[in-house]
């Protein structure tokens, strides 16, 4: 029922078997409502971009999807978010396991002040994913490889991660997320602190990761959304105004507000 209303509202072709969904999601920071009846489907093994002006609730929504808002005092959430058709806000869900399935990469690279190796092995260790040092080495190597960082760091795995450049740090954070073999990776403006070359590398990486992971990326750059995503959702004032195929959103937006934002008339 909810799916039908949402499709009618945003007039997009209904998505069959989405990886994640949000239904009538409302979020309050204390008294202030930051999200209003958000309905959104995330398609498996695709990149979904969330765009919209600052303060419209993109990060807030993203943080709902792996329950990172649980760590903030005074947040109330109602509505439903599902992963493989299970409500992630259900009492029976263990947040720790949930976050192992839904990884997150943040706006500012935030490597731990540990060695490169320890950064990547952090997740597998706490989740007990490995039984031996060899297995751990293996995971660290493949994760770094997947994040396109292995070549640059393989001789300095024991050096502190804080010594890497910003772009390398961000790819390390992606490797760190990948190391726990998540199904979904959430990225909150992962390139906003990076220079154009590092940005290009990360974008390339996102495109490769798509074959194994479902990715949701918040971005303030329209070009980036157009380059890396297959689907785009436009947020405005805490609401999803329009969602659909990226090509369609950028070439033929249905909503005036989307059109205005994309053509740069506001935002």
């Amino acid at each position: 029922m909810a799916v039908v209303t949402q499709s009618a509202m945003t007039a997009e072709p209904s998505v069959t078997s989405p990886k994640m969904t949000a239904r009538d999601l409302n979020l309050f920071y204390g008294e202030n409502q930051a999200l209003f009846d958000v309905n959104l489907d995330i398609v498996e093994r695709q990149v979904t971009a969330l765009i919209g002006p600052s303060g419209c609730g993109k990060s807030t929504f993203l943080r709902c999807m792996n329950r990172m808002n649980d760590t903030i005092d005074g947040v109330t959430i109602n509505g439903q978010v599902t992963l493989d058709n299970r409500d992630i806000y259900d009492k029976a869900i263990d947040v720790v396991q949930l976050r192992a399935r839904i990884g997150m990469v943040f706006q500012k690279p935030n490597p731990f002040p540990k060695s490169i190796y320890d950064n990547v092995s952090y997740g597998p260790r706490i989740h007990g994913l490995v039984n031996s040092r060899d297995e751990l080495d293996e995971i660290v190597m493949t994760s770094l490889e997947r994040a396109g960082l292995l070549k640059e760091v393989k001789d300095r795995l024991q050096e502190p991660a804080t010594g890497l450049s910003g772009g390398q740090q961000q790819r390390l954070c992606i490797a760190r997320a990948v190391a726990v073999s998540p199904e979904v990776i959430l990225m909150d403006e992962p390139c906003s602190a990076l220079d154009p070359i590092a940005t290009a590398k990360v974008e390339e990486l996102i495109d490769e990761l798509r074959s194994n992971y479902t990715i949701v990326i918040v971005t303030h750059s329209m070009q980036q959304a157009a380059r890396v995503s297959q689907r785009t959702a436009f947020f405005h004032l805490g609401k999803v105004v329009e969602v659909g195929e990226t090509d369609q959103i950028f070439t033929n937006p249905k909503d005036e507000r989307t059109k205005g934002y994309i053509t740069g008339r506001f935002g």
Binding site: R99, G103, N110, F112, Y122
Partner: protein
């Protein structure tokens, strides 16, 4: 009395100058403050500084020299038979000062001395009056000078900045100089001690019994000045204290910083910090009257022989005293660990305790080590609790159930009471003080290094 009055008068003059300076600037501005280089208050402050600071400076210099100059004048008038005998001279000077202060009626002294006393009294009065006159004039001159200098283009703001910088430099100079002074006074007395006692005996000797013969005819032991038992005692008590303070302080810091609700924290943090405000004498009572008997009685039940003054009692209570040091310093460093690191860890599915253990704690570790080292140097320097609870016996033992003594306690006992100031016994206090100072200085430097290293991490 007259000094208080003088300072009040100067303060009043400063206030007046501020008002005048400001008024003049306002008048010059023609109603628009933007015509002036600086704000009117800057001009006011400028005049006030010119009025007050030279006068205060003069006061300081005056007080430094007044005594010597007047004394010189008095001495030069004394008859030669007194002048040429230093013993008589100091006696006479003593009497003269007593007479001048109206305390000398009972003295039977020569008429010259009585005259000198009167002269001294009148000289002092003259000097005081002169001081008042000169200071007020200096203040007025300063006021007039700066008042006349005020103009639209005068850079009062920059001048005020510069003068306040000098004042601050002077203040920090005082702080640094007094530290240097303290170190040197320690150093000289300690060197004096080492001319009597071999430094090696002091540093490595295993026996401490500083009782030496006070008079030549007394039969007394030579006195042994081996400081090792004292340092062992100090270390023992410090160790016990840290065993209490580090875990309790650290865990309470973690609880306060990471788990407690803001409401609970608002109540509990100040409550914990009250511990730091309790006078150490009170801790001493607590240790001697409550903890020590408790330990002794319970030790007896367990068949242990706990002496009624024990290192354990002093160490435990000292540990409690140091808890707020450890907890508030480590709370500070842990709360400086950026939220983004916590988010990174939570985002990977780590629980709160995993995040604290694996991310926050290691990141804050250098700072925590610094906090602990500062606490250690505090524990080493603590005296009162140990005097009251650990005893005075310089036992060479690491058994916490026995009485031990510490460096600070020995310093106190060496210096209380009537002592000759050049006996090895009293001088040894300075050597101990110097050793203690060097140790805590080293610890503090080390601790600060650690904290600094930590600072670099997130910038």
């Amino acid at each position: 009395m007259s000094l208080t009055f003088l300072l009040l008068a100067i303060a009043a003059l400063c206030a007046l100058s501020f008002y005048f300076g400001r008024q003049r600037a306002i008048a010059l501005s023609g109603g628009r403050y933007s015509n002036l280089h600086s704000l009117p208050a800057h001009y006011g402050t400028y005049t006030a500084m010119w009025c007050g600071l030279p006068a205060i400076l003069l006061l300081l210099v005056w007080h430094m020299f007044q005594g010597t100059i007047i004394q010189g004048m008095i001495i030069s008038d004394l008859p030669p038979e007194i002048l040429n005998d230093s013993g008589k001279l100091s006696l006479a000077l003593n009497s003269i000062f007593l007479l001048a202060a109206d305390n000398g009626e009972h003295l039977s002294v020569s008429p010259e001395v009585i005259d000198a006393g009167k002269r001294l009294a009148s000289l002092q009065i003259i000097a005081n009056v002169a001081l008042v006159v000169v200071m007020i004039s200096v203040a007025l001159v300063g006021l007039a000078f700066s008042y006349r200098k005020i103009s639209r283009d005068m850079r009062a703001r920059n001048n005020v900045e510069r003068i306040s910088r000098y004042v601050m430099i002077a203040c920090s100079g005082i702080a640094i100089l007094s530290t240097v002074g303290i170190v040197f006074s320690l150093l000289f007395e300690a060197l004096h001690f080492f001319t009597k006692i071999n430094p090696l005996d002091f540093l490595f000797g295993l026996e401490w019994s500083p009782q030496t013969a006070i008079r030549a005819d007394q039969v007394a032991s030579e006195g042994a000045f081996g400081a090792i038992p004292l340092f062992v005692g100090t270390l023992l008590i410090t160790l016990i204290a840290m065993c209490v303070a580090v875990p309790v302080g650290l865990f309470s810091a973690i609880y306060m910083g990471e788990y407690a609700s803001p409401k609970f924290r608002a109540f509990a943090k100040p409550a914990l910090e009250i511990l730091a405000g309790v006078p150490t004498v009170v801790y001493g009572f607590f240790a001697a009257l409550t903890v020590a008997p408790f330990l002794r009685d319970n030790g007896a039940v367990l068949g242990l022989d706990v002496s009624s003054e024990s290192a354990l009692a002093a160490g435990l209570v000292m540990g409690v005293m140091i808890i707020p040091f450890v907890s508030s310093l480590s709370d500070d460093v842990m709360s400086q660990v950026p939220q983004s690191l916590r988010d990174g860890s939570y985002g990977l599915g780590a629980t709160k305790s995993e995040t604290i253990r694996n991310v926050i704690f290691p990141a804050a570790l250098p700072g925590i080590v610094g906090a602990v080292l500062l606490a250690v140097s505090r524990a080493i320097g603590e005296t009162m609790i140990v005097v009251m609870a650990a005893g005075l016996a310089a036992n060479m033992t690491v058994n916490p159930l026995q009485a031990v003594t510490t460096v600070t306690v020995q310093i106190v006992t060496l210096l209380v009471g009537d002592q000759e100031f050049d006996s090895a016994k009293t001088l040894s206090a300075f050597a101990l003080g110097l050793a203690l100072f060097l140790i805590t200085l080293g610890l503090n430097v080390f601790a600060l290094k650690f904290v600094q290293k930590y600072r670099e991490k997130y910038d």
